[in-house]
C-alpha cells in the first residue's frame, strides 16, 4: 500500500516537472503569435533569452562549481568582438568572414581565453577570484575601449547581419533554439559525472581530490564551458540584424551585476531557475521602463512633471518612466534575496517540486526506522553493526 502511494507521488512529481517544461517550451514557441501586433516585445523576448543564457551559464560556473567569476560579460564581449573583427572587410585581422564562420571562431577564441583565465584562477579562492576576474574584465573592457583602431573604441564595432530578414520573428526563433540548445547541453553536463565533480569541488576541493577527482581539470572545464556559452550567446545576439553593433560598455561591471542579480534572484544553484530569473527580471525591467497608467492619473502626474523629472522619473505617452529607479529596486531585491532567501526565489520552488517524492520517502523511512528502533532498543548493541 505505502509503496504504491510512494511511487505515485514520484511519478506525479516527474510528470509535473516534465509538464511544466513542456509548457515552457510551448510558450516560447507560440510567443510570436501572442505578440503579433507588438514586435517590440519579440525583440525584448530575444534579449531576455540572451540574458537567460548568460545567467544560466554563470550559474554553471558559480552555482555548480563555486567559482564566483565577474568576467562573464567580458567573455561574452570577447567572443563578439573576435567574431566582429574576423568578419570585417578591412583592418587588423579582417578576413571578411561570414558570421556563420566568424562566430564559431570567436567562441573558440573565447574558450581559449577562458582556459587561460580558468588556469590562472586555480590558486585563487572565493574573494580573490572575484577580485581577479573583476580586474580581468575591466582590463579587457578598457583596452577594447581605448584601442579605437582595432575595435571601434567607445562607439562600438558594427557586426554583419547573421540573417537576411530584419523581421523580429526569425531572430526570436533562432534565440529560442540557442537558449534551449545551450540549456539542454548544460543540463546534460550537470547530470553527468562532471556535474557531480563540479559540485564536489565546490563543496570541498581537498576532499574531492582525496577521492580521486581531478580538481584542476574540473575547475578549468567549468570555466571554459561557461565562458564559451556566454561567448556564443553574445556573438549570436549581436550579429542579429536588429542589433548589429557591440559597444565596450556592455562589458561594464554594472552589466555584469545585472546578470549576477538575475541568476541569484532566480537561484544560482539551478540552471533553469537562473534562466527563469533572467527572463522574469528582464521583462519586469522592460515593463517598469514605462509603467502603463490610466490617462486620468497621467494627467494628474503631468502637473508634477518637473518634480518627477528632478527625482529621476519621467512621463511618457502611456505611463510613468522609472529610468534608473527600477534598477535601484532590483539592487534592493538582490540584497534582500541574499539575506533571506540565499538559494534564490525560484530554485527552492523547483527543488520542492522535483524532490517532493524524496522528501515523503525520507519521512516514511524515518518513521519506519524509529518504530524499529523502539522495538529493538533493549537488545544488545549487536543490532547496530549487524544490519548487513
Amino acid at each position: 500500500m505505502r509503496r504504491s502511494a510512494q511511487l505515485n507521488t514520484q511519478y506525479q512529481a516527474r510528470y509535473t516537472l516534465w509538464g511544466l517544461a513542456a509548457l515552457g517550451v510551448l510558450i516560447l514557441l507560440i510567443f510570436p503569435l501572442l505578440f503579433r501586433q507588438q514586435p517590440y516585445w519579440l525583440y525584448i523576448a530575444s534579449q531576455a533569452l540572451f540574458y537567460a543564457i548568460l545567467a544560466s551559464s554563470w550559474a554553471l560556473l558559480a552555482g555548480y562549481n563555486g567559482q564566483f567569476s565577474f568576467a562573464h560579460m567580458a567573455f561574452m564581449g570577447l567572443a563578439t568582438y573576435a567574431s566582429g573583427i574576423l568578419g570585417r572587410e578591412t583592418g587588423f585581422l579582417a578576413f571578411d568572414l561570414s558570421p556563420w564562420v566568424s562566430i564559431p571562431l570567436g567562441v573558440l577564441f573565447t574558450g581559449f581565453v577562458g582556459l587561460v583565465i580558468g588556469y590562472l584562477c586555480l590558486r585563487l579562492r572565493k574573494t580573490y577570484l572575484a577580485l581577479f576576474t573583476i580586474a580581468f574584465a575591466e582590463i579587457t573592457r578598457l583596452v577594447i575601449k581605448a584601442e579605437v583602431k582595432f575595435t571601434g573604441g567607445p562607439n562600438g564595432l558594427p557586426l554583419k547581419p547573421l540573417l537576411e530578414s530584419t523581421s523580429y520573428v526569425p531572430v526570436y526563433y533562432l534565440m529560442v533554439a540557442l537558449f534551449l540548445g545551450t540549456l539542454l547541453a548544460m543540463y546534460v553536463l550537470v547530470r553527468s559525472r562532471y556535474g557531480l565533480y563540479f559540485q564536489a569541488v565546490r563543496e570541498d576541493e581537498d576532499a574531492a581530490a582525496a577521492l580521486g577527482v581531478n580538481v584542476v581539470n574540473t575547475r578549468i572545464l567549468a570555466f571554459v564551458v561557461s565562458s564559451m556559452i556566454a561567448g556564443l550567446a553574445g556573438a549570436v545576439f549581436h550579429h542579429f540584424p536588429t542589433v548589429g553593433l557591440v559597444v565596450p560598455d556592455e562589458m561594464i561591471i554594472g552589466r555584469m551585476s545585472l546578470v549576477l542579480a538575475m541568476a541569484i534572484i532566480g537561484g544560482s544553484n539551478s540552471l533553469i531557475a537562473a534562466a527563469l530569473g533572467a527572463i522574469f527580471i528582464h521583462f519586469s525591467l522592460e515593463w517598469l521602463q514605462e509603467i502603463p497608467l490610466p490617462a486620468a492619473i497621467l494627467r494628474t502626474l503631468e502637473a508634477h512633471r518637473a518634480t518627477l523629472e528632478s527625482l529621476g522619473f519621467g512621463l511618457g505617452e502611456n505611463g510613468l518612466k522609472t529610468n534608473a529607479w527600477r534598477m535601484v529596486g532590483f539592487g534592493m531585491l538582490l540584497m534582500v534575496t541574499l539575506r533571506f532567501r540565499q538559494n534564490g526565489l525560484i530554485a527552492p520552488l523547483l527543488e520542492r517540486l522535483s524532490r517532493r517524492h524524496v522528501i515523503q520517502e525520507i519521512a516514511a523511512r524515518r518513521r519506519a526506522r524509529e518504530e524499529e528502533e523502539i522495538e529493538v532498543s533493549d537488545e544488545p548493541n549487536e543490532q547496530v553493526g549487524g544490519a548487513s
Binding site: Y197, Q199, E203, A209, G385
Partner: protein, 246 residues
C-alpha cells in the same frame, strides 16, 4: 600492495614537524598510529596523500614514486584517507556523495551497479534511510560515517583514517569500530590514527608512535606499550589525554 615512506622531513618555516619518518606497509594489516597532539600525524597523512609536499624524502606506492603527484592521482592509485574534521559534500545527497569517488576512480563504471554497491555500504553504516537526504542535514557522527562509506567507494587498497572516533556518539563509534574490522577482513591495509587507546590496542596488529615528528616506536602493540620512551612520551599521560577527549 606496498607503501614505502622514506625519510620524510617536513619543515613549516622554523618548525620541523616531521624529522625523517620511514616505514613500510607491504601486506594487509591494521597499523595504529599514535602520538601526542602536534606530533605530526595529520601532517604525515597529508604528505602521504599528496596534499602537502615533503621538504625531503620519498614515498613509493607499489613500486611507483608518488610524492610530487597530485592528490587525485594518488587516490586513483588506491590510497584513500579521511580527514580529522568531517568533510562531507554538504550540498550533495548522501548517494551523490557516494558516487563521486566511484565515478572518479572509474568513469566507465556502471552507475546502477555503483548505486547498488553504495546502498549496501550505507546499509552497513546504518545510513540507508538517509540515502536521498542532503549531507548537510546529517548529524556530525552520521557525516563521519558517510565519509567512511564514501572512502570505500574509491575502492582503495590502503586507507588512512585520521581520528575516526573523535566527537562521535558512542553508538556510532561502535559502527565505526565494526567498519574498521570489516575493511581489514576484506584484505585492505589501514593506518588508524586515534587518541582512543582502547580501540587502538584492540584493533591494531602493529603500532607506530610518533613524537615531535619522530617515529619513536614501530612494532607489535604489546611490545610498543612497554617501551619506556613510549610511556614517557605518550602513554604516561594517558589520563590527561582521556580527560581532554572526553
Amino acid at each position: 600492495m606496498k607503501l614505502e615512506v622514506k625519510r620524510i622531513v617536513k619543515n613549516f618555516g622554523g618548525l620541523q614537524a616531521l624529522k625523517g619518518v620511514s616505514f613500510t606497509i607491504d601486506s594487509p594489516q591494521l597499523v595504529g598510529l599514535i602520538g601526542p597532539n602536534g606530533a605530526g600525524k595529520t601532517t604525515l597523512t597529508n604528505i602521504i596523500t599528496g596534499m602537502l609536499a615533503p621538504t625531503s624524502g620519498e614515498i613509493w606506492l607499489n613500486g611507483e614514486r608518488i610524492d610530487g603527484m597530485r592528490p587525485y592521482a594518488i587516490a586513483r592509485r588506491g590510497l584513500g584517507r579521511t580527514f580529522q574534521v568531517t568533510r562531507a559534500f554538504r550540498r550533495l545527497t548522501v548517494m551523490e556523495n557516494m558516487l563521486v569517488p566511484a565515478l572518479a576512480r572509474n568513469p566507465r563504471a556502471d552507475r546502477h551497479a555503483m548505486e547498488q554497491k553504495a546502498r549496501e555500504i550505507l546499509a552497513f553504516l546504518t545510513l540507508d534511510h538517509l540515502t536521498n537526504e542532503y549531507a548537510r542535514s546529517l548529524s556530525g557522527g552520521q557525516q563521519k560515517l558517510l565519509e567512511l562509506g564514501r572512502l570505500l567507494m574509491l575502492d582503495p587498497q590502503i586507507i588512512i583514517l585520521d581520528e575516526p572516533f573523535a566527537g562521535v556518539h558512542p553508538r556510532l563509534q561502535r559502527t565505526i569500530y565494526d567498519y574498521i574490522r570489516r575493511v581489514r577482513e576484506a584484505g585492505k591495509a589501514i593506518i588508524l590514527i586515534s587518541h582512543d587507546m582502547e580501540s587502538i590496542f584492540t584493533l591494531s596488529e602493529r603500532l607506530m608512535v610518533l613524537n615531535f615528528g619522530e617515529l619513536i616506536a614501530d612494532g607489535p602493540p604489546d611490545e610498543v606499550r612497554r617501551m619506556p620512551e613510549v610511556i614517557d612520551a605518550y602513554l604516561g599521560r594517558d589520563e590527561e589525554e582521556e580527560t581532554e577527549h572526553a
